[in-house]
Amino acid sequence: MKLTLEIWRQANKSAAGAFETYSLEGVSEHMSFLEMLDVLNEKLTSEGKEPVAFEHDCREGICGACGFVINGRPHGPQPKTTVCQLHMRSFKDGDRLVLEPWRAAAFPVIKDLVVDRSAFDRIIQKGGFISVNTGSPQDANAILVAKNESDKAMDAAACIGCGACVASCPNASASLFTGAKISHLALLPQGQPERWKRAEAMLEQHDLEGFGPCSQHGECEAACPKGITLSNIARMNGDYLFSQLAYSPRVGASTEGG
């Protein structure tokens, strides 16, 4: 099939970007979307032009590296599918596709379709962990977890940190990402001791990074390749409010993490 691609090109963080149009012929429906871009890049390189920079690694939908917006939809039109697993049979001959990077103040564009998502790591640094040193735990089966709760924790833990939630959100909020990690740990007994401090610190870091507020449009849930649900945002909100209204830290207690 033949495609027209309108791709955002930007040399670096401080450069101004613009759309460039490319036409590509001979695209097979069996190609993955990224393989189609590989073909374009091989062509551009052979012509002495710079290939389009895009992020990718595992190409099997789990590392979370890939992702850009195709015709207004993060990871493209197929639900619960990262762009590396999206195949060209989702499109038809003659389609015009507009490829844009994730757009958010907290995700500055590094080059073309590559953005800087280090804000996610900094949110995790504020409490997306259980403070247990290597070697200290008890036997694993000494902690019983109801299957139902464990399954819900796993649903939340399935987040791959790709950033599609931010990209799809009309407010560029990272509430789904943050809520998923808070929920994953809040649903497990191991996560209880630090539950309230975690919600407080992670949510406040989320705001500091410049992500927007959640208006519960639900776009993030629809864009999430792993099916993380809005209920995780609700749990985060509840935990945050509890941390502020009901939880009492000892006066003068150290607030240092780690």
């Binding site: 069996h30 710079e50 920079a53 099997e60 590392c63 962990f129 735990p137 089966n141 993490g257």
Partner: protein
Amino acid sequence: MDLSSKAPQDVDIRQAWDTHKFRMKLVNPANRRKYRVIVVGSGLAGASAAATLGEHGYNVACFCFQDSPRRAHSIAAQGGINAAKNYQNDGDSVWRLFYDTVKGGDFRSREANVYRLAQVSVNIIDQATAQGVPFAREYGGTLANRSFGGAQVSRTFYARGQTGQQLLLGAYSALERQISAGRVKMHARTEMLDLVVEDGRAVGIVVRNLETGAVSTHAADAVVLATGGYGNVFFLSTNAKGSNVTAAWRAHRRGAVFANPCYTQIHPTCIPVSGSYQSKLTLMSESLRNDGRVWVPKKAEDCGKAPDQIAEADRDYYLERKYPSFGNLCPRDIASRAAKEACDDGRGVGPKVEGVARGVYLDFADAIKRLGKSAVEERYGNLFEMYERITGENPYEVPMRMYPAVHYTMGGLWVDYNLQSTVPGLFVIGEANFSDHGANRLGASALMQGLADGYFVLPFTLPNYLAGVKPGGANEGTAAFKAAEADAQGRLDKLMGIKGKRTVDSFHRELGNLMWEKCGMARTREGLTELLGRIPQIRQEFWENVTVPGSPGELNQSLEKAGRVADYLEFAETMALDAREREESCGGHFRSEYESEGEAKRDDANFCYAAAWEFKGVGQAPVLHKEPLEFKYVPLATRNYK
């Protein structure tokens, strides 16, 4: 070359690790922060090591080429992690896991290391659970297990089909906690280009910031490589696109010997190549073989027909025919080779790529008839969905098509019992080292080894080395650092300056196809000799005719790939040489000359050793050193799956 393992020989293997731990030197807690440790790689091994060393108080710097440590390729492991917990009370024990791993590795691993791996496996599960890894559970709240990869006991812990992801996120969270506490400094989007060796010791690394292109050096008291395997030498593999041999190869060039590079594992159930544009291969869980039946048409002329047009009598269920007792569940290497034979015979199915159809059917029609569609959906629903997403075919109606693909590499930098390479101060952990899996890795053991090394072995053995070193001895201003940096910069400039006609990928594909053809599932002396003639030619053309667009002072993915492919073009030669030198078949290394009735035929009299290659220069033959392998506890035996 001293290739002694340094494992305690004076005590029984059951006491070896405890004895060794006690004998090793410690570093005073007050002095730890003075020691700088570099960890390269942030997968299971790297992240767990960096986090644990940070907890101990060392001054750690961790590097990864991805944009975040959470993206390391450990994340893609699906099936599970083995541990000798014996929670199912089905006869498992540390000894049995040790025994199975040595036997599964076809007697080409080091017994002491394997025993230790089995021993600490139980701690991994405790650690991961405490971190909040949501392993599958029973209704009573205890952890669930499954049997995996033909094991007789249920010792595999899992988190849906995303065990690697969950374990990595656990290690990543521990790492982020140490970053937050200021004990680990993380350098993401930073690729190691070289190792700095001074006075015979590893003292630092040269890196390139992938965002700005800046090349810089980092000094340390010890360097830990946790940089994964080299499966991408085949271009197509189940590895992530970024997985590369550069760090290990550069360390090898600086003196670390490389062991058993020819040991590669081929996974039998991957989605076949669909066209010449194919960029990677996707693994489908081995569990599919529990209920799927593997077949190809008996007659080559039937291959073009739709599968439901081929009569039962015209189908060849070749695994059931050749291995009546194990049938479709025979080990990975056997299933893989049988698929290749069927396709070489012209009986492969699916689209032809470059003239040959490479695929076999994995058919669930019988299972659906026997168990009902809903039962099959319950067991394999998510895998079927994934298959349909990629191929556009519905496996409930049309048989799946499968073909083997490179999956894991057992070879790696040689390390002793302390996980130290032949360069003092250079430690190698996880898939990047060679030690634990011998010639074949058992399912659900890769995650186990990565975490064992990072959480429970290196944090004991590294201090033993540091205790003998004056902290802060190395600094970036010395000649060794300047020379290594200039070297790396020179290589980048050279790559940018060639301005030839061919793309980096075209070279990588050419090398990969050739390696797969001649050094893949079945190897021959003749083919390997031919390969050894071809690799230097490709390498030469690469350095004369590659084109790298853009500039070096920015994010330049072509330049990143070029550096990696350049190293693969050197590494491949050593790999092929190792494969030719090993005149036997064992585990994942199958030499067509050495077989009996289609089975791998080991030669314990002549090849019961780890082959450790010493670098002598590009285009010059490396020197082979041998570490003899002794099997005192698990007697040498031949595998039989008929």
